[in-house]
């Protein structure tokens, strides 16, 4: 779960990492006074706000209100800014990068620091980024922060400040179950203070059971996405017109790839996870009805459940659905033949293999 900047900064602050003073508003007239020059910043979960006009400076309360008015409701690459963060403008001497993320290959956390902050870390050459894997059995140690501060070329007092921030960021990551905590830019001000200019924190959604406070944060989901989430079904919207239901991430992707090989294009796909639970298949069919694709492709590889039981759930889901949407169904496993007959007699297009199902669905979608 990605946190908006203001929320992420709140978390930083909780761990003693300096952030500029500021406040969040959802309507411009909530700005009464400001205590000096500020930045008015769109709150959206996507990068490139500045370029899109989502960050504006203001010197007076009047200017700040104007800026807020322009930004609230702004559509930034598909994300609407419902709120703005009004925060003290920093006198920037240097912009650095500091982050902690997951190193999948080494299976540990990775401390990253760069002297080239303020831009996408992806565009920074690798020799300009310090990457220090944190061995979980060693844990974060102060020398790592010193190494980072030395790498970005900070002298004396600012080095100590940055080093301390590294330790606090590690504490934040491990205590809050963050899978990413990024301060970009980490600003060194003209008067020698090291402070977080921006913040990206992503909480591991699998760890929310021990972080109830984040459960209260509402995510920006469409009603259909919300329903899928409640049912623990992975919902992904693509730009094609074939609605795909499959079980398991790998099989779902293989189904999409196969459709593509036959010239079709997947639209919404629902991944039930590794299960063939008939109730879940049924729920997914009901969701797919609402999404109303041109063709539906159901591809279930059965494990525990017998295919005819899964087929029965599918039939129940479409029972009262007067539709002409072609449904290509493939259910693999025990009692496969019976399931095929059931689906066929209900007007569906049965398929025996993955390729055959993909081919039939693609053909239907191109009619």
């Amino acid at each position: 779960m990605k946190l908006l900047e203001h929320k992420a900064k709140e978390v930083l602050k909780k761990y003693g990492i300096p952030v500029p003073e500021g406040f969040v508003i959802s309507s411009a007239d909530q700005i009464k006074t400001i205590s000096g020059p500020v930045m008015v910043k769109a709150q959206v979960l996507i990068g490139g706000r500045g370029k899109a006009g989502g960050i504006k400076p203001a010197d007076t309360a009047e200017d700040a209100r104007k800026a807020a008015k322009a930004i609230i409701g702004m559509n930034i690459r598909g994300f609407i800014s419902k709120e703005v963060l009004v925060e003290r403008r920093l006198e920037v001497a240097r912009e650095l990068y500091l982050g902690i993320t997951i190193d999948r290959s080494r299976r540990c956390l990775l401390l990253m620091a760069s002297p080239d902050g303020g831009m996408d870390i992806e565009s920074v050459p690798e020799n300009r980024i310090l990457m220090h894997p944190i061995d979980p059995l060693i844990g974060y140690q102060p020398f790592m922060g010193s190494k980072a501060a030395g790498f970005v070329g900070l002298p004396n007092d600012t080095a100590l400040q940055m080093s301390a921030i590294c330790g606090r960021l590690y504490e934040l990551v491990t205590k809050e179950d963050a899978e990413l905590a990024e301060i970009n830019p980490l600003v060194v001000t003209k008067d020698g203070k090291v402070i977080a200019g921006d913040a990206k924190v992503t909480i591991d959604s699998d760890a929310l059971f021990r972080h109830q406070e984040y459960n209260k944060l509402v995510e920006d989901l469409t009603p259909l996405e919300q329903k899928a989430k409640d049912l623990d079904i992975a919902f992904v919207q693509l730009d094609g017109n074939i609605g795909v239901i499959a079980n398991g991430a790998g099989l779902t992707m293989a189904t999409l790839d196969s459709i593509n090989m036959y010239g079709g294009k997947a639209g919404i796909f629902l991944d039930l996870g590794g299960t063939d639970d008939p109730e879940k298949v049924k729920s997914a069919m009901l969701l797919m009805r609402e999404a109303n694709p041109k063709v539906i492709l159901l591809n279930i590889f059965g494990g525990i459940t017998k295919c005819d039981t899964v087929a029965k759930g599918v039939l129940e889901a479409i029972e009262d659905w007067k539709t002409t949407v072609p449904i290509v169904a493939r259910i693999k496993g025990v009692n496969e033949e019976q399931a095929r007959e059931m689906l066929k007699s209900a007007g569906m297009i049965p398929a025996s293999g993955l390729s055959e199902a993909a081919e039939k669905a693609s053909k239907e979608s191109l009619r």
Partner: protein, 290 residues
């Protein structure tokens, strides 16, 4: 420590942590039907009970002491999974298969690092497990798709693995061992760990690798194959059509920052001399033509 062929074999003596839950009970029976010696279950507070005729112990150490178990399969829910895995490690169980999904990534990091420091093998989390037809199965793979043979399968996926194993069997080829390593961002055994075992394993003559978008494990596997694997390898990579930035179900299956694309993985594998299938069902044909 008993040397195992590839993760499991005839010497596997299995305990099931979380045996009293629906999944734990169902799959304990299925594993036994496959031929696995399921010697005990563990569930705190239910020691002394039986699940069918399998004795249940309160703690892993007790179960190991009483039965000589050398492998554990973990079904306990994510919030207690770290405790369960560390308990098995603490009891010195040399091979641990974690089926549990939605394990917090920091818990996975912790478990894997401790296990590694003690030379313990972890398969998973969020994996279907390991099956060696004619020997043993530890995990949730369907029993009826396997046939004993000489093909080693290693995969990040669950149901896609079943699809491919099933296709191999339908073409009258068979498997030596099939290892589902799981698709989470942090897993215990990697492709490379399993490829090493297949290379050494006498029964395995050909290898199938099933990967998917996200991370760089397939690229690393390709480099390893090029330098160290003499047996022929066929691969399938899922996610050719997955758009960047969208998580495709598995926590790890995402193309982030231009890395982890199917193209890069397919290219790396082809450079290493691996035949890459276009459809999952093309795998048996490629195996036959090797």
């Amino acid at each position: 420590m008993i040397h195992m062929a590839v993760v499991v074999d005839n010497n596997t003596k299995l305990i099931v942590q979380g045996i009293t839950g629906y999944q734990g009970t169902y799959h304990s029976m299925a594993m036994r039907d496959f031929g696995t010696k399921v010697v005990a279950g563990v569930r705190h507070g239910k020691g002394g009970e039986k699940v069918n005729d399998i004795p249940v112990f309160n703690f892993v150490s007790e179960a190991v002491g009483a039965t000589g178990a050398n492998t554990s399969c973990i079904f306990v829910p994510a919030p207690s999974c770290k405790d369960a895995a560390l308990e098995a490690i603490d009891a010195g169980v040399p091979t641990i298969v974690i089926v549990t999904e939605h394990l917090p990534v920091l818990d996975a990091i912790h478990i894997v690092s401790v296990a590694r420091s003690k030379g313990i093998t972890i398969i998973g989390p969020n994996c279907p497990g390991v099956a060696s037809p004619g020997k043993a199965k530890v995990g949730i793979l369907p029993n009826n798709i396997f046939k004993e043979g000489d093909i080693g399968v290693v995969s990040k996926s669950g149901t896609l693995t079943y699809e491919i194993v099933n296709a191999i069997t339908e073409h009258n080829l068979g498997q030596s061992t099939c290892v589902g390593i799981g698709g989470d961002r942090v897993s215990g055994a990697s492709f490379i760990d399993i490829l090493k075992k297949f290379e050494e394993d006498k029964q395995t003559k050909k290898i199938v690798l099933v990967g998917e978008i996200g991370g760089t494990a397939e690229e690393e596997a390709a480099d390893f194959i090029k330098a160290n694997v003499t047996k022929p390898v066929v691969a399938y990579i899922a996610g050719r059509t997955a758009p960047p930035g969208k998580r495709m179900g598995h926590a790890g299956a995402i193309i982030a920052r231009g890395r982890g694309t199917a193209e890069s993985k397919i290219k790396a594998l082809e450079v290493a001399g691996v035949k890459v299938a276009r459809f999952p069902t093309d795998v048996p044909g490629l195996l036959r033509n090797l």
